[in-house]
Symmetry: C2
Subunit: 248 residues, 2 copies
C-alpha cells in the first residue's frame, strides 16, 4: 500500500542501468496479473539500445525520458502469438475483431500496472507515455509489430534522479459512486474541482498558457479536439491494418 500511495511519475533518471535479473523479476511479477481466460494476449517489448530509442523518440514527441531512461517498455495487445498457436493446433481463431482487440488491450494494461508497482517497490521510477496511441502507426513500423499486435502504452523505467511533489487528486467522493452512477450537479462539479483550481500549480498554468480557467488549458492547449480527432483516425486505422476490425 505504501508503494502505491507514494507513486510519483519520474521523468529524470540516473545513468545506472537496470540489472537484467532485476528486470526479469519485475516482468515476472507483472505477468502474474489477471488475464482473460489465462490467454495472456499481450507482449512486452523491452528497448535498451540507443538505436531503437532514437527511432522511438520523435514518436513520443521528443520526450527525453525515452533516451535518458535505461529501459523503455512498450506494452502491446497481442493476438498474433495466440492465433499462431491455434492454427498450429487445428483450431480456427476468431480473434480479428474489435472485442478481441479490447480484451487484449485490457490484458496489456493490467500487466503494465503490475510491472510499474513491482518496479517502484524495487526503488525504480516509472513514467507512462500517453503518446503511444497517438503515433501507433509509426510505432508498429519501428518495433516490427506484425498483424494482431497493437501498441497500447509505453513506460520509461530507471533509478530516479528527482523527487517530484506528489500530484494532486480529486477527492475520492468525486470519482466514486455508490450502487449506481449519481450524475453531477453544477454544485458537485464546483466542489470536486475546488481544491485543484486553488493550487499554486493551477495559477502557474494559467499564467504560462495565458488562460482564464484551468479547463481551457486542457481544451485549448493540452488535449485539443483537433489533435484528438486526428489521433482517433490514426488509432482506428491501425486497428483495421493490424486485423482487428472484422466485425461481421
Amino acid at each position: 500500500m505504501k508503494v502505491l500511495l507514494n507513486h510519483r511519475s519520474i521523468r529524470k533518471y540516473k545513468s545506472d542501468p537496470i540489472d537484467e535479473s532485476l528486470l526479469n523479476d519485475i516482468l515476472t511479477a507483472g505477468t502474474r496479473a489477471s488475464t482473460t481466460g489465462n490467454m495472456q494476449v499481450y507482449s512486452i517489448i523491452v528497448t535498451r539500445s540507443e538505436e531503437v530509442k532514437k527511432k522511438l523518440l520523435p514518436l513520443h514527441f521528443n520526450q527525453q525520458m525515452i533516451i535518458q531512461a535505461p529501459v523503455v517498455l512498450t506494452f502491446c495487445a497481442d493476438f498474433n502469438r495466440f492465433n499462431k498457436w491455434c492454427l498450429q493446433r487445428k483450431a480456427n481463431p476468431g480473434y480479428d475483431n474489435f472485442l478481441s482487440f479490447f480484451t487484449a488491450a485490457i490484458d496489456a494494461l493490467l500487466v503494465a500496472q503490475n510491472v510499474c508497482v513491482a518496479a517502484e517497490e524495487q526503488g525504480l521510477g516509472i513514467c507512462y507515455l500517453g503518446t503511444t496511441t497517438y503515433t501507433a502507426d509509426k510505432i508498429v513500423e519501428v518495433l516490427n509489430l506484425p498483424k494482431g499486435v497493437v501498441p497500447i502504452t509505453t513506460v520509461t523505467m530507471g533509478y530516479p534522479d528527482e523527487k517530484p511533489e506528489m500530484s494532486d487528486r480529486l477527492p475520492l467522493a468525486g470519482v466514486v459512486h455508490n450502487e449506481v452512477y449519481m450524475d453531477y450537479s453544477e454544485g458537485d462539479i464546483d466542489q470536486i474541482y475546488q481544491h485543484k483550481e486553488a493550487l499554486p500549480l493551477t495559477e502557474q498554468l494559467l499564467k504560462e498558457n495565458n488562460k482564464e480557467t484551468l479547463a481551457q488549458v486542457f481544451t485549448d492547449n493540452r488535449y485539443t479536439k483537433k489533435d484528438n480527432v486526428a489521433f482517433s483516425k490514426v488509432l482506428l486505422k491501425v486497428l483495421e491494418q493490424q486485423g482487428f476490425m472484422n466485425n461481421e
Copy 2:
C-alpha cells in the same frame, strides 16, 4: 512483490463485509495510479446492495460471485465529469471521439489494477469479470451511466473462502521481446505452449470439452468467433451511443 507473485483470482468469498474505511483506503491507493494529464477520466461504481447485484447478475452470465462477494466494483471510462467541468468553466471539450474513449479506458484499467493490488495486500481476494464489455449496453442501463461513461471492467472483492492453485503462465521469454518484436517460428510456438499443454488441467479440459487440442477449447467453446463478433457490435454501439465516435 510478494503480493503480486501470490495473486490468485478468488471466486468464493466469506460472508464477512468489507469495512467502509478499509474500502476507502483501498480505493484511495487505487486513485494514486498514473492518469493521462492528471485528468482522472474514470469513475468507480461500488455496488453492495442485493437489489443492484441481482440486476447485474445476468449481465455477468450468472456468475455467483456477483451475489456472494460483499463488494462489486465497476470501473468506467468517464469523460462526463470532465466535460461538465469544462462547460462550467468557459472551455469547449473535444472529448467525444475514439481516442478520448481509449484514454479514459486506460485510466480506468490502471486504477482497477492498483485497487486489486491494494486489496490483496490487505488480505482480500479479487476476481476480474471479462463480461463487462460483452453486455456493456445493459450495464449502462442498470448503473445509470450517462453519456461520456462506458463500463470497462468489473471486479468482485471480499475475504477469500478458497485457496486455489496458482494458475500457470507462459514462460517469460514467450511474452517478452528484446529491442523490437521478434515474430514466432513454429518451433517457438511449440516451445512456449509446451508446459501449458502438458498440464493435468489441460487433459481435464480436453476430456470435459471433448476436443483434440487445448486451442480448440478456446476457439470452439470458450471464446468463439460468433460471440466475439456479436460482442464487438455491442461494444461499438455503446461507444457510439455514449458519445465517443465523433471522429470527424
